[in-house]
């Protein structure tokens, strides 16, 4: 007999009454947590999305209602979504489809994504709050994708990096916040605070606010999530596989959104050509691919816990006809 005692003997009943430096060390990954991918995933869907050439009236206002009319006559594609079930942590599955449309005016490319979501989650201040979001993903460089020329539809891989555009619901709120970022006190009205980030507030402490390293790690590290006045709602990123997502130094993408009748409509846009080697470049008359993911904040979606499409979607830019 082994001599033993149970750590739960006393039981839960009793208890139940109630900054940055040097080398990465433990983190040499033994098992990536990603299971194999099927041939089907390396085969792009058949339907090609035509990114229509549309002559836009300038200057255009960045609002879904004004830009939306340009998409009226454009045929989009329906993208099937499912839970992310390969990389740890798995998750998602609450959003089944999204509709994507594309237009360009010879200078700028616009993508409109819409999907149903019963709750609007645009604040991530409390620890239990998670944001709604959407991301478009493009292969970097000129590629063809097939079972012979494999290109992972899930964040790319070491040899085949991707460019991602990630719109976040809370960044829309930050954009119009007086202090450049949604205040903690908007989640907790009337809370006591010693230091306000709002320059017109009585508790604004200029000296403190201007010494970011004292203020907050995220701000002093220049993390785009933490910086007030980031001035955009879409993050421009790269990845070469699971866990490698990295914010670009140069941000080129912006967008706008509307939440109406339980449906998000998000428009993301960027100049066709940016000259940045980390960006996908669009040429009228040529084709590439896109893939996408949607996060439902209400379901605690974040990171790999998301609704994804498991196949690339081809897209073709219509030639310019002046």
């Amino acid at each position: 007999m082994r001599k033993c005692f149970s750590v739960f003997k006393y039981g839960t009943a009793l208890l139940g009454a109630v900054f940055l430096s040097t080398a990465l060390y433990a983190a040499e990954e033994a098992a990536p947590g990603a299971k194999g991918m099927s041939d089907e995933e390396f085969t792009p869907v058949k339907e090609v999305m035509l990114v229509k050439f549309v002559q836009m009236e300038k200057p255009y206002h960045l609002s879904v209602h004004e830009l939306g009319s340009a998409f009226k006559e454009v045929k989009g594609v329906t993208v099937n979504l499912q839970m992310q079930d390969k990389a740890f942590p798995n998750g998602g599955g609450s959003v089944k489809t999204a509709e994507v449309k594309g237009i360009h005016d010879g200078m700028t490319i616009f993508f409109q994504v819409s999907w149903d979501d019963a709750t609007k989650d645009s604040r991530v201040i409390a620890p239990q709050q998670f944001r709604d979001g959407v991301a478009l993903m493009f292969p970097l460089g000129k590629v063809t994708i097939s079972t012979e020329e494999k290109f992972s539809p899930r964040m790319g891989d070491r040899q085949k990096p991707v460019n991602l555009w990630n719109w976040k619901a809370d960044w829309e709120v930050d954009l119009v916040a007086a202090s450049g970022i949604d205040e903690v006190s908007s989640q907790y009205p009337g809370m006591h605070d010693d230091f306000s980030t709002n320059p017109i507030s009585q508790t604004y402490h200029k000296g403190l606010m201007q010494s970011p390293s004292i203020l907050a790690g995220g701000i002093s590290a220049g993390n785009l999530f933490s910086l007030p006045n980031r001035g955009r709602v879409v993050e421009d990123l790269n990845a070469e596989g699971f866990g490698t997502l990295t914010t670009q130094d140069h941000q080129d993408v912006d967008g706008c959104s509307a939440y109406e009748h339980g449906c998000w409509t998000v428009i993301m846009h960027r100049p066709l050509n940016t000259g940045d080697t980390f960006d996908v470049q669009f040429v009228p008359g040529e084709s590439t691919y896109f893939n996408m993911a949607v996060w439902n904040g209400d379901k605690e979606d974040r990171n790999g816990q998301k609704n994804i499409s498991t196949q690339w979607h081809p897209l073709e830019l219509e030639r310019i006809a002046w």
């Binding site: 990465l24 947590g33 903690v184 995220g218």
Partner: protein, 403 residues
């Protein structure tokens, strides 16, 4: 998953990364018996690192009362439930001084429970809501009483509570690090301190979810997570007052009850931290069954029910209390080092003194020698010298309040 050795559990266990131990590991010994819950440590930390906006609820150091207290509320009960498979058992006759000093734990760790439950993530866990973080003093000084009419006397009190002092454990197998899908959390090779890279973090809160001790915290202002950084500038000797020598953290040096000693766990048998933890086994890990191999070690409170303590500190509780109640000559000397210096002691030397006292404690003979203990720094130079008998200083009667 790979198999790594966890000496707290006396066995190999599954972990997503390979075993890789630092040169020496940041570690501390907290003597629960002496804590007065003055929260000076808590305020020392707060006023250094978490005084700012969005950190209102953050207490990287907190002191809670057991059995009813918890910050966040009921954190340990909730996590214990997640790993409870009905057979969380220790086999205490399967001991090996080096690899399994407490015996062998055969229950599930947070990593193994996640695999068994097919959770498709590295560890079990949960994200506490704001209301759970709100009352750090919940249950403070509330006693548990099994027989309310009886008075309490040692060895075990019928009416009891004790304080537990909590910081990040800078675990050998951190749950937070395993959980992070971005690898934004890293453990430093030089001292084993676990940090969140504030630039790579995207506020996913997987670390908040999968740290069983609930020590990473989400900051609404910056939308990323933060955690105890073990005052690493002091550890590196970069605090101006440290004069370039490794210095203990703010919470340690502020300790009024003199319950805390911090240094590094290594292989040197004359390192006071290593001696107390590995050689004497008088200081024990908190909830070793979680499987992260935490590096803050506790001398358990001698008056609390043993079964409760075993659940909390594993099967080493009885031996630790026995040794603490009737301390050996060397233990008395080493315990005298607590809070005598801010500079980290890497090694000690004892100069023998005369016998000054003897008595019987719980049927055992106790002798006290007024030995001198000398603490040496990283460079081998003396940083502190003290005696077992506290020096007495009598105030001259010229003061108004002199007796």
């Amino acid at each position: 998953m790979t198999l790594v050795h966890n000496w707290h559990l006396g066995r190999r266990m599954e972990y997503p990364y390979f075993e890789s131990r630092p040169k020496h590991q940041f570690a501390a010994v907290f003597n629960i018996n002496r804590c007065i819950a003055c929260q000076t440590c808590t305020m020392a930390c707060k006023s250094t690192w978490t005084f700012n906006k969005g950190q209102e609820f953050m207490w990287w150091n907190n002191v809670e009362t057991k059995p009813y207290g918890g910050y966040p509320q009921s954190w340990d009960v909730k996590t214990l439930k997640l790993i409870d498979n009905g057979e969380n058992t220790w086999y205490t006759n399967e001991k090996d001084e080096k690899t399994s000093p407490y015996g062998v734990y055969e229950g599930d760790t947070i990593f193994e429970a996640a695999k068994k439950k097919n959770l498709n993530q590295w560890a079990v866990g949960y994200v506490p809501e704001d209301k759970e973080w709100r009352s750090p003093n919940f249950g403070e000084d509330v006693a548990k009483s099994s027989k309310p009419d009886e008075s309490s006397s040692l060895p075990v009190h019928n009416r009891w509570f004790f304080y537990i002092q909590r910081i990040c454990n800078h675990c050998t197998y951190p749950g937070c690090l395993a959980a992070c899908p971005r690898k934004a959390i890293y453990k430093r090779k030089e001292d084993g301190i676990v940090l969140i890279d504030q630039k790579r973090c995207r506020g996913y809160r997987k670390c908040v979810e999968q740290c069983p001790y609930k020590k990473p915290m989400y900051r609404g202002l910056t939308r990323v997570s933060e955690k105890c950084i073990a005052c690493y500038p002091r550890i590196e000797g970069r605090d101006p007052i440290s004069e370039g020598r490794p210095m203990e953290t703010r919470c340690m040096t502020a300790c009024v009850g003199q319950i805390r000693l911090q240094g590094f766990l290594d292989d040197n048998p004359k390192n006071p931290i290593t001696w107390l933890i590995k050689n004497q086994k008088i200081a024990l890990p908190l909830y070793p069954q979680f499987g992260t191999e935490p590096n803050v070690y506790y001398i358990p409170p001698r008056w609390a029910p043993r079964e409760y303590l075993r659940q909390m500190f594993g099967p080493g509780v009885d031996e630790a209390i026995e040794k603490f109640m009737v301390p050996s000559r060397e233990l008395l000397a080493v315990m005298s080092l607590f809070r005598m210096s801010q500079t980290i002691v890497f090694e000690y030397r004892i100069e023998e003194g005369p016998k000054v006292f003897e008595t019987m404690i719980h049927g055992k003979k106790f002798e006290m020698y007024n030995d001198t203990i000398i603490g040496l720094g990283e460079d081998g130079k003396e940083v502190v010298r003290t005696t077992v008998e506290e020096p007495i200083h009598i105030r001259p009667d010229k003061h108004y309040n002199s007796i």
